[in-house]
C-alpha cells in the first residue's frame, strides 16, 4: 500500500513538473513561432537561441509590483487565478502518458488515475476552469474585466456543448468513457481520427474556443477590452492566468492526441522494439511528439487567423458546430447499424 502511494506520488510530481515545463516552453515556442511566421527571429538573446527566455519572463513576472485594486473583492481577486491554474493542472491526472513500466516484477501504469468516467471528469474540470476567469473578471470591479469574463463564460458554455456532442460520437464507436481504454483501443493504425474525422474537426474547433486561443480569444481581446478579465491583474497573478492558458493548451493537445491520434500508440513500433519497457518509453516519446505537433498547430492557427466577432462566434457555435455534431452522431449511428455493431 505504502509502495503504491509513493509510486503514485512520484508519478503525480513528474506529470506536474512536465506540465509546468511544457507550459513554460510553450510561451517561448509561441514567441518563436510568432516571430518566424512574421519573418522575424523571435527571442534569441537570453541563452543560446533564447532558450532561457521563459526563465527571464518568470523572474520579470515575480519582480513586478503586486497591485490589488481598492474596490475589488480581495479574496475572490486572489481566488480567480488560483482556480484557473488549479483546474488546468488537474486534467493531467487522467491522461495516459504511456502503457506501463515493469520494474522489479511490478507493473507501474503511466497513467495517474484511470478513472472509468475519464471523459466526464475531463468535461467537468474544463467547465470549472471558466470559474477562474469569471471570478477574476468579476472581482476586479472593472467594466472591461467584467465584459471579458462574461464573454469567456458564454463562449465556454456554448462550445462545451459542441465538444460534448462530438465526444458522444466517439464514445459510441469506442464503447467506453475511460480515456486509458480509448488510448489502448487505438492500437496500430486504428486511430480514432480515421473513424471520426468530422468529430475530430468539431472537437479541435471547440478545443480552440475552450482554451481561449485565437481565433476565439475574445475574452482577452486587447484591442477592445484592454486585456479582458486580467486587465486589473499584475505580477505573478497575471502570470498565473497566462500560464494557465498555456497549461490548458498543453493538456488540450494531449487530449487531442490521446482521443483521436492514437495516444502513445505508434504503428509498426512493435516490430522493431521488443523490450516492453523500451516500448512504453518510446510510446511516451511519440505521445509527446504528437502533443508538440498539436501545440504547434494551436500557435500556427493563432498567427494565421484574425479574431472572430462576437456574433460570428455565437453563430458558429450554436448554428454551425452543434447541428454538425448532432449530424455526426446520426451518421455514426447509421454506419454502426449498417455494419452491425449495435
Amino acid at each position: 500500500m505504502i509502495e503504491y502511494i509513493i509510486y503514485k506520488a512520484i508519478l503525480v510530481v513528474i506529470v506536474f513538473c512536465i506540465t509546468l515545463v511544457a507550459a513554460m516552453y510553450s510561451t517561448y515556442a509561441e514567441r518563436k513561432i510568432a516571430g518566424f511566421i512574421q519573418d522575424r527571429l523571435g527571442p534569441n538573446r537570453a541563452g543560446p537561441f533564447g532558450i532561457l527566455q521563459p526563465v527571464a519572463d518568470g523572474v520579470k513576472m515575480f519582480m513586478k509590483e503586486e497591485m490589488i485594486p481598492d474596490v475589488s473583492n480581495k479574496f475572490l481577486f486572489i481566488l480567480g487565478p488560483s482556480v484557473a491554474m488549479f483546474t488546468s493542472l488537474m486534467t493531467g491526472a487522467i491522461i495516459p502518458w504511456g502503457t506501463s513500466l515493469t520494474i522489479l516484477g511490478h507493473q507501474y501504469s503511466l497513467q495517474v488515475a484511470d478513472v472509468n468516467i475519464g471523459i466526464l471528469y475531463l468535461l467537468g474540470i474544463t467547465s470549472v476552469g471558466v470559474y477562474g476567469i469569471m471570478i477574476g473578471g468579476w472581482a476586479s470591479n472593472n467594466k472591461f474585466a467584467l465584459l471579458g469574463a462574461l464573454r469567456a463564460s458564454s463562449q465556454m458554455i456554448s462550445y462545451e456543448i459542441g465538444m460534448g456532442l462530438s465526444i458522444i460520437a466517439l464514445i459510441m464507436t469506442t464503447g467506453t468513457l475511460s480515456i486509458g481504454e480509448i488510448a489502448a483501443q487505438q492500437h496500430g493504425w486504428h486511430w480514432n481520427i480515421l473513424y471520426q474525422p468530422l468529430g475530430f474537426l468539431i472537437f479541435i474547433i471547440c478545443a480552440f474556443a475552450e482554451t481561449n486561443r485565437a481565433p476565439f480569444d475574445l475574452p482577452e481581446c486587447e484591442s477592445e477590452l484592454i486585456g479582458g478579465y486580467h486587465t486589473e491583474y499584475s505580477s505573478m497573478k497575471l502570470g498565473f492566468y497566462l500560464f494557465a492558458e498555456y497549461t490548458n493548451m498543453f493538456i488540450s493537445s494531449a487530449i487531442l492526441a490521446t482521443l483521436y491520434f492514437g495516444g502513445y500508440n505508434m504503428p509498426f513500433l512493435g516490430r522493431f522494439v521488443h523490450d516492453p519497457n523500451m516500448l512504453a518509453l518510446l510510446g511516451t516519446f511519440f505521445l509527446f511528439c504528437k502533443i508538440c505537433f498539436f501545440i504547434f498547430v494551436f500557435m500556427w492557427v493563432r498567427w494565421t487567423l484574425p479574431r472572430f466577432r462576437y456574433d460570428q462566434l455565437m453563430n458558429l457555435g450554436w448554428k454551425g458546430l452543434i447541428p454538425l455534431a448532432i449530424l455526426n452522431i446520426a451518421i455514426t449511428g447509421i454506419v454502426m447499424w449498417i455494419t452491425g455493431k449495435i
Binding site: I33, F36, I37, Q38, D39, R40, L41, W300, V301, W303, T304, L305
Partner: protein, 175 residues
C-alpha cells in the same frame, strides 16, 4: 463552399507556413550592422588633401547653397609657415554646421569647388543640449593620421568629379 471557411483557413495556414521557412530579414544589430546605401548622406566631413592640409578655402559657396542656412564660417588669411596646415591662401578659422538645422540635402557638397566638404555614412549622435549640435572644426575636419581619414570614395564618384569639370556651370568656373 465559402461559408464553411475551412478551405480558406487552410490556404492561409499554408501561406503562414511558407513564411515560417522563409529567410529572415532581421539584422542582429549590435553585432551585425545594416549596410548604408552608397548614396547615404550623413554627418559632414571637411577633407584634408594628401599632404594633410585642409582643402577648405572659406569661399562660402556651401553656406550660400545651404537651403537650411546651417553653415557659418569666418575666413582668415594663411600666415607664412602654415602651408602644411592650409592648402589655399585663405582658410576658414571657424567653420560651424548646425546639425539641427541641416537637412542633409548634400547641396554644400555639390557647391564646393575645392572638394572639401562631403557627407559621409556617419550618423550625428543624439544629445540633450541644442548648443552641442553646432559642430565646429574640431568635429568636422578629418584627423591628420592616414589611418583615421574618413573614406568618401562612395560619395566622390567619377560622375561627381566629371560634373565638377563642367565649366559651363557657374560655380565650377570660380577658382
Amino acid at each position: 463552399m465559402e461559408r464553411i471557411y475551412l478551405p480558406a483557413i487552410f490556404g492561409g495556414m499554408i501561406i503562414t507556413l511558407g513564411h515560417f521557412f522563409k529567410k529572415k530579414v532581421t539584422f542582429q544589430y549590435p553585432e551585425v550592422k545594416r549596410p548604408f546605401a552608397p548614396v547615404y548622406r550623413g554627418m559632414h566631413v571637411l577633407k584634408r588633401d594628401e599632404n594633410g592640409a585642409e582643402r577648405c578655402t572659406a569661399c562660402g559657396l556651401c553656406a550660400v547653397a545651404c537651403p537650411a542656412e546651417a553653415i557659418t564660417m569666418v575666413a582668415a588669411e594663411r600666415k607664412p609657415g602654415e602651408e602644411k596646415l592650409y592648402r589655399e591662401e585663405k582658410y576658414a578659422s571657424t567653420y560651424e554646421i548646425n546639425m539641427l538645422r541641416c537637412i542633409f540635402c548634400g547641396d554644400c557638397e555639390d557647391a564646393c569647388p575645392k572638394e572639401s566638404i562631403f557627407l559621409t555614412d556617419r550618423l550625428v549622435p543624439s544629445d540633450s543640449l541644442r548648443q552641442r549640435f553646432v559642430y565646429g572644426k574640431d568635429l568636422l575636419v578629418e584627423p591628420m593620421e592616414a589611418s583615421k581619414r574618413v573614406d568618401i570614395s562612395q560619395r566622390q564618384t567619377k560622375e561627381v568629379l566629371e560634373f565638377k569639370k563642367r565649366k559651363e556651370l557657374q560655380h565650377n568656373r570660380l577658382k
